[in-house]
Subunit: 395 residues, 4 copies
């Protein structure tokens, strides 16, 4: 009974996510097939057999995309963040809030439609080299729904968008001004290359992003000095986004760590059903603790002094004789609560197997919390009674 | 009455900023037109009609710029940071402090003048390809007044200027030394390419900024080794600015967050008119709290235990039946103060709609503050009386 | 008796690590010889003598690699993280846990084998230009075992792998889409260069990583605009990894500092043999303190108010007459404990010779700890008695 | 009497640093002249007059460098960090510690010598194009003594040298392996370009640093895929140094801020002569406070509640009638101490003119400190008596 209910919840989630990941896989494969057949079709080194039969591949992919589009349109209202309680209200709510329209005119909704139209064009016209048929490559943007971690990048970019866009506008201004100066300097020496400011602008962006194709190069001494300044100014300006993103990610990381702690606590069997107020109080009393791999968190027969929540890392419960698969607890698990609840000595040693970070709730603070929150006290007593009556298996 | 006065202030600001943003738009459009007609005029793919009539566009733009310049010159004294109280003092102050001259010889003041002179030159001389006429492109620098977020970048660059310039000087020294070595190595093999150290310097800056045009390339083995070293040293050195800016932005971000908290508190109706000392005390008692989207901050009928200031994010007040437009509070708003002032249970639940950060002032700390600051106590009592007499509408 | 036992442990470690570093050196030299003879053998400017006799060099290197491989295979079970206590259990454990197989199919295990097979192929076939013989260059990957600091990089990369891979997948999607658009724009103008989407993809990756070889360049105006967008999007996207890594390293650095503090405390003579619980308590009472170079930590004859642990930096014990080699304490050393234990005034001044960071345990907190932990009290009394009986040499 | 003694110290420092900066200027100019005459001498666009008379410039520069070298050699012992008290000890100390030899064989010592020898070679041999004469360009490395901020960069690089070198070693290994693979792939298609692994290595370093000269480019499809991987791996690897440096600079910045606070406190008249112990206690009681520009720190006639140290920013003392040059206090200054010492109301308002950071010592903590440290109490009373007897001018 380390975290029984919690494990059950996990199992349900795992089973549900199996279906979800199966559907996701089909969609991801369809997207990759749709894009890659188009990309490699136009090439000499594409296998002829596929080139001839590409339409037979396109038909099932298009069928999947159309089905997906219709389902997304149909279920759009379910994705509204705050559903009303009863059904009558819900129906009225949908009528007044145009979620299906919102999906239809959203960026990804338009991309979904564009991909279908592009595929249909190829099938109907039979023209495999028209530009309309190539738009199916935009299907790759549909992948953004399945890339884990992209929402963190999006959150940071959104938060820092003002400074980031200020940087790029500044860069654009600097490109125009430095290119104009270079144009004035070089137009007499290389009139055919620097024939207009837009040509110089092309030099400017190629140079200030340090791409340096080498198709337009300053030849005069003063032009080379301006070129050198342009490179350094470009690098200096483009170091700013990296700097902004670094501090943005650090902030987001800290933020998410706090939210993660909140989730760990609020998802535990021990604290389930308590209101946010009480959980906030608990999180205030928690202390972070970092231990290296191989450290003993507590020894068997020691006095129960704290409850431990694993924020990061892994511990092993030391039982003799050693079981073939060691009992290990990971991020999100709790241990050491039984000793506190039953007021008895530890019945097993706990050892870290990795560098780990714990959230620790001291015995003293635990009692302060119980005396403050009656709900918490009742909950714990009922859990304890339940445990005493069931198997007395662990710490 | 969530934050009545505060909303009034906001409205005034919004109306004032409408006029401001209208004038800004005209100036920004003028700048963009002035620069872009000049840039694309010289090009073959420019539309002929514009090329012929560009002067008719230039006249109104120049008129706007001259008007702007004169107004800026006229109103320069108003931008002084600390205006004296009475008018007599003010006039004497202006006479002794040469704010108009300061604007005239400031960087942007000189650019404003240069742009006007360049435009007048084109109009008067009628020569559209003289270099003097191209200086109107510098009008883009005038845009720096309208780029939001550029002042943060400027503040960080100013703060870290010493280390940043040390990096660029170090890079310059390394370029000269590595280029000289390469010159000595390659001058016998490619005498026409590496004909002098300045040519090698051009190679050095093109290589160490990783631009790599490919016009000058080492051919000998030892020259290629020096080239490889130059690339790695260049990248290593240019990683330093990104590192410095990252820590600089992190510091600036933290700094601005603290200032932001101070502004949130000091702009509230509740604490308006209190002296800095008292507000400083309040900020000392505040605790930061982060909650995920969809969390309940407090429930209806729960005991009032704290005042919440929204530093970041959004909450929704849960009212039944649900209104068509939900009542939402955003960054800078306050909630939960009515319960504390009237000493009654919460009359609505509050739920976050985004990941949010709050500044929380506990009941206990609130009473400590009231007992310490008599001004605050009187203020709160008067607000409370006012509220009791008016509509008893919310939490 | 500054930290007698600690120094003994250090000496043992130093001697053991001498043998280890000797074996490491042999292996590192073998690896470098194996790779470099192969790299330079194929070249005109390779010395002929080595080219002829390279096999005589290859035979001993291969012998070393084979021996290393067999020893690694043999000792694989010793590297298991949690060895059972008694031998019978150990043998059964090895049988049930296939550590040797795990090594065999691990990445470095396969590389070890590949390098041996590649070397044997060259020796047996006598063909020095077959591609199989070139695989010996992979021996360089074996160096990863000997690069200090690489485990920190690996830990950060592992922790941030989700966001990092999201960035690179996003970049890949953007490359494909921008390249397809450029292909559609340029295929009519430069049909021989942009002959297929894969050619455009090559342009895309060369441009968005700002490599810019210059072999494929957009010629049309609209193509150049797309090229400029590609460069900026590429730089913007590739600034994200730098940002993520910066915050990842900052977190890892802080984490390792905490672990380092834990190690400093738990490795000290004074606190040796205490359980993790007690050491955790000690670390909770520690305060960090930073002093500049040349500052006096405490003066002779001052009252003993704290124990100092050096986390970073160096101090010098001021003794007169000055000894030829000054007595200096470094990171990991402790000072000021004798005064507290014997309850007498400081018998020497302590001065910093570098900017230093200390962990300070105050007199008051020290006594709180002693009253809480009987083990600690007994330990300290026994150390004190021991010291009093031995030489009364220092602070 | 805001900080009388402190200002005196500043003046002395300023006068001393005037001489120092004069000598520095001469040396910097000499270095720049020595390097630039050599760099531009070899060029066609160098002015002929200088080229002929360059020796007359070289003779005084060499004289300065030789004088500098001899003086540095002579004064080397003075730069030892811990000078003994009496002269006899000092002389013996110099004899046993070979500071002059240490300077002679130090990096900058050798550079100083090399530059002199190179200059002498040119003068004596009269050969202005021999490579020995070009070594005078290394004089630029002597500039490293005069670049402010370079010691911070050096400190960060030294601290993070392990991870940084691990990154560059990893990059080197990846370059060798990817180049070898590309060599095997391309050697049959472009045998004259990829004629050996070293040629492929040149491609590898030019590609993985994203320099991209374009002299060696993969032509095969599989070669282009490897090329793309090389670019992304290169960028990914070279993002690590930026990340490491970012966290390194953040740590160093924080560290230096703490040291800066220590210096601010320990340099003040108020706390001068107190021992480190007492100053450490003071720094423990300080609270950081950030205020925006234009905020009132305290008002005239308010009760004295704290002493303020300016860590960053600027405040103005509000006096009526306004003086022509406002009285402003900057980083390192203290205010508000007079009210506490004399136990009277504030006699002026204080307003910030910039965003500022203060270190605040509360009235309560101030009295705790006085009761704990008798030295501090005596000192303050004597200052107060002194002030009462002199002009009663300010807050």
């Amino acid at each position: 009974a380390f975290s029984g209910n919690y494990l059950v919840t996990r199992n349900i989630k795992a089973r549900y996510s199996k279906l979800q990941s199966f559907i996701s896989s089909i969609l991801v494969i369809s997207i990759l097939l749709a894009a890659s057949t188009r990309i490699f079709q136009s090439e000499a080194w594409s296998i002829l057999w596929i080139a001839d039969n590409v339409k037979f591949l396109l038909i099932p992919i298009l069928f999947i995309f159309i089905l997906e589009y219709l389902l997304r349109l149909w279920t759009a209202p379910d994705s509204c963040p705050d559903l009303p309680e009863n059904n009558a209200e819900f129906e009225q709510y949908i009528r007044t809030h145009h979620y299906r329209l919102f999906y239809g005119i959203s960026f990804l909704g338009l991309i979904d439609l564009l991909v279908i139209l592009s595929g249909l064009f190829t099938l109907i016209s039979g023209n495999s080299s028209a530009w309309e048929g190539y738009l199916i490559v935009f299907a790759l943007l549909k992948l953004s729904r399945y890339i884990h971690g992209i929402e963190i990048i999006a959150a940071v970019l959104k938060k820092e968008r003002q400074i980031l866009s200020a940087t790029f506008i500044t860069l654009a201004i600097l490109i125009v001004i430095l290119s104009t100066i270079l144009y004035l300097v070089e137009r007499n020496v290389q009139p055919e290359v620097f024939n207009s400011i837009p040509s110089a602008l092309w030099w400017g962006i190629v140079t200030m992003t340090t791409t340096g194709y080498g198709d337009i190069i300053p030849m005069t001494s003063i032009g080379r000095v301006i070129g050198g300044v342009a490179m350094l100014v470009g690098i200096g300006t483009l170091a700013i986004p990296a700097g902004i993103l670094a501090s943005g990610f650090a902030y987001e990381l800290k933020h998410r760590e706090q939210l993660n702690n909140w989730h760990i606590i609020s998802n535990l069997e021990l604290f389930a059903g308590l209101d946010a107020n009480c959980i906030k109080d608990i999180t205030h009393y928690l202390k972070a603790e970092v231990l290296p791999a191989g450290a003993t968190v507590f020894k068997k027969h020691s006095a129960p002094d704290a409850i431990y929540f694993i924020a990061d890392g892994e511990v092993e419960i030391q039982i003799f004789p050693k079981p073939p698969t060691p009992i290990r607890l990971r991020s999100g698990d709790v241990f050491g609560e039984a000793g506190l609840l039953e007021n008895r000595k530890r019945n097993a040693s706990i050892k870290t197997t990795q560098n780990s970070r714990f959230l620790v709730l001291d015995l003293h603070d635990f009692h302060t919390l119980i005396s403050k929150h009656v709900d918490l006290k009742n909950k714990i007593e009922s859990i304890n009674n339940l445990r005493k009556s069931s198997s007395p298996d662990s710490n």
